[in-house]
């Protein structure tokens, strides 16, 4: 361990900026948690609306992330096994939801999924409405979250020595068998990381979801609603619960990283 007096001027400067950045990152969260009045929180947290929105958020988050696995893994597998040209064409498309401002993504989805559009019309005939429904929330979360699963699993798939997959085929495994017994276990950590990242993104997304469904309210929407209609104190209660949920996922992600 080096002592402070051993550091030269540049290193001291780096440390100053490091501490400033950490303070700015951790400070607001810590500040919010410290400013909560425990009695008010204990009373307010019993509001059934908060629990309803927490349930909707967690359910939609898991549903969209599961959907993300089911569709994102085959997509990543196709990309990892296809030619460079195909990959270079499709891979940038995956990044659109990451780069697109969430509100704009919401607008796109509303016009894509409303019952007046072709796609929305088809679903509407099947009895599935997206606007102001849990389906819409799941769709919005899926749109902004699935790139995380595709990106993390794609890089894991690309790392696999193709000869071990070929060997599995030679030993008698069909392509599906080789995928499930060799490719998936080999990439499980990356896939889990992608799943948790998508879950975190889904649960926290506000802009996209609020455009599709102001009701039923997810927790971020509820925080916004309470903030504009009841003031900041009322917004803190669901905010603190959401921080707790995010920290839980954050801890899960650290654990999966530590394992490697």
């Amino acid at each position: 361990m080096r002592r402070f007096k051993d550091l030269d001027r540049f290193e001291v400067l780096c440390w100053v900026f490091t501490l400033a950045a950490i303070l700015f990152l951790a400070g607001p969260v810590a500040g919010l948690l410290l400013s909560v009045d425990p009695d008010f929180f204990a009373h307010d947290a019993r509001d059934p609306e908060i629990w309803r929105s927490l349930k909707i958020t967690v359910f939609s988050g898991f549903a969209s992330s599961m959907l993300g696995l089911v569709t994102g893994l085959p997509l990543a597998w196709v990309l990892s096994t296809s030619s460079v040209r195909v990959r270079n064409t499709i891979e940038p498309l995956i990044e659109i939801p990451i780069l697109l401002p969430p509100v704009i993504a919401g607008i796109c989805l509303v016009s894509f999924l409303s019952e007046k559009s072709i796609v929305g019309g088809i679903f509407s005939r099947l009895g599935i409405e997206f606007i102001s429904s849990v389906w819409g929330i799941v769709a919005g979360m899926y749109f902004v979250g699935v790139p995380f699963i595709v990106k993390t699993s794609l890089s894991a798939f690309q790392e696999i020595d193709h000869r071990i997959i070929r060997t599995a085929r030679l030993l008698g495994a069909g392509s599906a068998r080789a995928f499930f017994t060799i490719v998936l276990p080999h990439s499980s950590r990356a896939i889990l990381t992608g799943f948790i990242l998508m879950l975190g993104r889904s649960i926290g997304i506000f802009g996209t979801v609020v455009m599709i469904a102001y009701e039923p309210k997810t927790v971020p929407v509820l925080v916004y609603h309470r903030f504009v209609s009841m003031g900041i104190e009322a917004a803190k209660t669901p905010a603190v619960l959401l921080i707790g949920l995010s920290l839980l996922f954050f801890a899960m992600r650290r654990l999966t990283v530590r394992g490697s």
Binding site: R166, T167, A168, R169, L170, G172, A173, P185, H186
Partner: protein
């Protein structure tokens, strides 16, 4: 048993150009050629991992050119083993049997059997990343043998190993072959080919240019390429006698002095044609091997003349054009051939 006809496959870097050869049941067929002539691609085509452009592959009379990988009964072991890193040694060995739906009981007894055969019985519970190169290669070999392939393809299985594991691996490959396994073994290593092959095929530029038993190929290379790849022209099959220091190698009617610490037994001895010195009188030098003989062939080759003498067996010497002119050699001449004991290389096998 396996017949390959006019196989073509073009790749960005190189191509197979009408490669044809045939492998008989129980053979240990060694495909020899420098790196980058398409040996691995050829194996991958046989195994069905690469689609061929044209040509045909038949196994036991059945055309398998376009058969799915898992229905070919061809096993392939890669040079770097390609073990499944998330599975233990036992699970690696059992993989093929599991996907073929064998019962747990059958798998267990079969794995015990295979593990003993390839000598990995003590490693079954180990993770694959704790294995040495030689151990990993045995596991890879056992994993493929477990599904009893009709034909076993080995892609440079020995090149990446240390000297000790090499000779063990060679012995294992020979044992598997003796037990009846048909093997196609690919290598760029001339010694490896000598010590293993029952037949050798030479690959040059995507083509199979010559096939035959090792002695024939080495005595009568049919192209400049094969001759230069071999680099030496004298090949003797025989028995090494026990002893210390300079020992005797008996091949037919002749007895060669060799310096080697190899185990006594069957093998081949090779001698570079450049090492053989010709003289009109019996030489008085220190050479341990001195034979009188009669010239039976004289041929001009690149950079000199090759003289074939009958000394009880054929012995080829390479001399310069100047020496040729000075000595006035022609067919029927009686000459003395001599070479040092250290010039003779012994290969067990």
């Amino acid at each position: 048993m396996l017949k390959v006809s006019d196989l073509c496959k073009s790749f960005s870097g190189f191509s197979l150009k009408k490669a044809s050869f045939e492998v008989a049941e129980g053979e240990l067929f060694v495909m020899l050629g420098p790196s980058g002539v398409g040996k691995t691609v050829l194996l991958e085509c046989l195994a069905g991992l690469e689609r061929v452009d044209s040509g045909s592959i038949t196994l036991d009379g059945k055309n398998i050119t376009c058969a799915p990988i898992q229905e070919r009964s061809i096993g392939l072991v890669y040079q770097d083993q390609a073990l499944f890193p998330h599975l233990t040694v036992w699970e690696n060995l059992a993989y093929g049997l599991k996907v073929r739906g064998h019962s747990a009981e059958t798998i267990r007894s079969k794995i015990d059997d295979i593990a003993e055969k390839v000598g990995v019985g003590a490693l079954l519970g180990r993770r694959t990343d704790t294995l040495s190169g030689g151990e990993a290669q045995r596991v890879a070999l056992g994993r493929t043998m477990a599904v009893s392939p009709r034909c076993l393809l080995l892609d440079e299985p020995i090149s990446s190993l240390d000297a000790r594991s090499r000779s063990e691996m060679r012995r294992l490959i020979r044992e598997l072959n003796r037990a009846g396994q048909t093997i196609i073994h690919v290598t760029h290593d001339f010694d490896e080919a000598l010590s293993l092959a029952s037949r050798i095929a030479f690959m040059e530029d995507g083509r199979v240019v010559q096939t035959g038993p090792p002695d024939e190929v080495f005595r009568h290379p049919q192209s400049e390429f094969v001759a230069s790849f071999i680099g030496l022209r004298n090949f003797f099959r025989g028995v090494l006698e026990p002893g210390e220091g300079t020992r005797y190698f008996i091949s037919g009617s002749i007895r060669l002095s060799v310096v080697t610490d190899a185990e006594p037994g069957n093998g081949v001895a090779t001698l570079s044609a450049e090492e053989v010195v010709l003289s009109a009188e019996r030489p008085a030098g220190s050479a341990r091997n001195v034979f009188p003989g009669r010239v039976i062939d004289v041929a001009a080759v690149r950079g000199g003349i090759e003289i074939v003498l009958d000394v009880g067996t054929e012995l080829t010497a390479r001399i310069s054009n100047e020496s040729m002119n000075e000595m006035k050699i022609s067919c029927g001449c009686e000459l003395w051939a001599s070479f040092k004991a250290t010039a003779v290389k012994f290969h067990p096998g």
